[in-house]
């Protein structure tokens, strides 16, 4: 198994706040890895540092064997690394279709883009029905689908997802998790940040627990799901 994403001793500060205190973890090609943790643990900070939205103070982020810690954020998606951000952040005043096409912004292969668009519409028929609707008028669940579809439009090797189930009703949560599995089955490596630890551990291969900027527990997702400490802190019955 080859390592796709390798994070080592990552330190990130917001002014004087030490948000990530030298964390290390990795994601193998083909895996679903989940990063769970309470509010403010540093999950979003971790993902945003990986995809170049926040600068790191020190450490290393290797992607496919290449150091990307100083790579400008906008160059990563062309290298196959897509990010579905926390809170969806769809372009509210643009149509569903325009949002999706922005997902393919760095691609030049017209036919390939068309093919990917068809796949995205297969994953999310709702987006096809609403392709001319303004994204800001979609429901929360639909916006999440759009944010995921938009990331898929870049035809990524790896997606990082930041709390895709946040604020969604149980039916939508199940649908979103089903689609994450489908995306994974189609060959995409997944790094999933979730507060819904039950669900995340049920689909992941491995997991890390992040507590106030430190990784405190790591292991096979199954083992973590049965770990009494994890159960007490993160899993509700």
């Amino acid at each position: 198994m080859s390592i796709m994403l390798d994070v080592k001793d990552l330190n990130v500060y917001y002014g004087v706040i030490h948000a990530l205190k030298g964390i290390s973890f990795h994601v193998n090609k083909g895996e679903i890895v989940t990063l769970i943790g309470a509010n403010g643990a540093g999950k979003t900070t971790t993902l945003q540092t990986i995809t170049g939205l926040i600068p790191a103070r020190s450490g290393s982020v290797m992607y496919n064997g290449r150091e990307i810690i100083h790579t400008p954020g906008h160059q990563l998606v062309a290298n196959g690394l897509a990010h579905v951000p926390e809170g969806r952040r769809v372009f509210a005043t643009l149509s569903v279709y325009q949002n999706l096409m922005l997902g393919a912004y760095t691609r030049k292969d017209k036919d390939g883009i068309e093919a990917t668009l068809r796949t995205v519409y297969e994953h999310f028929p709702r987006l096809l029905e609403r392709k001319n609707q303004m994204a800001g008028t979609l429901s929360g669940g639909e916006q999440q689908m759009l944010a995921m579809g938009r990331a898929l439009m870049s035809n990524p090797e790896m997606v990082v997802l930041d709390e895709p189930s946040m604020g969604l009703s149980p039916i939508y949560v199940n649908e979103i998790f089903n689609i994450i599995e489908k995306i994974h089955d189609s060959g995409v490596t997944v790094l999933l940040v979730e507060q819904n630890a039950n669900k995340a551990l049920s689909i992941a291969d491995r997991a890390y627990v992040l507590e106030t900027g430190n990784i405190t527990i790591e292991g096979a997702a199954q083992d973590l799901a049965n770990d009494p400490k994890v159960k007490a802190a993160y899993l509700s019955e």
């Binding site: 954020g73 951000p85 372009f91 005043t93 912004y105 760095t106």
Partner: protein, 294 residues
């Protein structure tokens, strides 16, 4: 009646100039979220560049226009890089003060180089006045060219924004720089492009303005700059069609007020209209009210 039509046409022409300048204001605001108060002075530099190209270097009109556009584009990009980019994360008040500083810098540099003595700008429009209604109505070539140019520019910009990748990237950056970055959009590059387009338009606005009102001084851009800013706010800042509509309304209003009420009060009337519109609709005529779901 004929005089009314004549005032109206002059108003449309002046409004077209305001609109062309307002487009730069509104695009820069929409994408960089800042008010570039030096925009009017870029127009003035465009005027001088065109004046030198045409009168001192004896270049043909189209080449002189191009020279002026290139000078303004480079100036706009440079100002953004040197003065505004380092403040990308600063609060908006610092940026505003910097922009005002840049505005005075440009005016004073122009005064140093060209002195405060007005230059008499020879019109770039070689079209004879058109006589209509059996000679009762004369429309100057400048009026025709200005209105026509403005319509072409607005149509071109709307098409560019909606139909090209770079245009879509601009919309993405204007909404959410972080999300745009995740799409692979180079946010800094997009902001530079916006300044480039806005400044090139300012050059055209400057040439058209000076062709119709042929005195060029270091403060030529100041008042039209403020009026164009008002036009952009009136139409809904950030909106391209809004800048067009705002500019036209402002120009027509100003000319009619001058003709029928008082030439001294025309500016007061124009600004009163702005205040009333903003009281009724704070986002301006076409201002977007974005609905966001949380």
């Amino acid at each position: 009646m004929m005089s009314f039509i004549s005032y109206l046409l002059n108003g449309l022409s002046l409004g077209s100039v305001y609109a062309i300048i307002a487009l730069g204001y509104t695009m820069v605001y929409g994408i960089a979220k800042m008010l570039n108060f030096a925009h009017g002075d870029i127009l003035m530099v465009g005027g001088y560049a065109a004046f030198i190209a045409l009168n001192s270097l004896g270049l043909p009109v189209p080449v002189s226009v191009l020279v002026s556009m290139v000078v303004c584009t480079l100036l706009g990009i440079t100002i953004e890089k040197v003065a505004y980019k380092p403040l990308r994360k600063a609060n908006s008040l610092s940026v505003l003060i910097t922009a005002i500083g840049v505005s005075y810098l440009l005016q004073n540099l122009a005064q140093l180089i060209f002195t405060a003595n007005p230059k008499s700008f020879s019109s770039f429009v070689g079209i004879e006045p058109i006589k209509l209604a059996g000679g009762q109505l004369t429309v100057s070539g400048e009026t025709v060219v200005t209105i026509f140019t403005c319509v072409i520019i607005v149509a071109g910009l709307v098409t560019f924004i909606n139909k090209t990748k770079a245009g879509q990237a601009m919309l993405a950056v204007s909404e959410d720089k972080g999300a745009a970055t995740l799409m692979g959009v180079d946010v800094n590059g997009t902001i530079s492009l916006t300044f480039a387009i806005g400044s090139a338009l300012a050059a055209i606005g400057g040439i058209l303005l000076c062709s119709a009102y042929p005195t060029l001084t270091p403060t030529t851009g100041a008042m039209p700059g403020i009026k164009a800013f008002v036009a952009a706010v009136l139409g809904g800042i950030g909106s391209i069609p809004g800048a067009f509509i705002g500019g036209i309304i402002l120009g027509v209003l100003e000319n009619l007020a001058k003709a029928y009420i008082s030439s001294k009060l025309s500016d007061a009337i124009v600004f009163s209209v702005l205040i009333i519109v903003l009281l009724v609709k704070p986002t301006g005529i076409l201002g977007k009210k974005i609905m966001e779901k949380v």
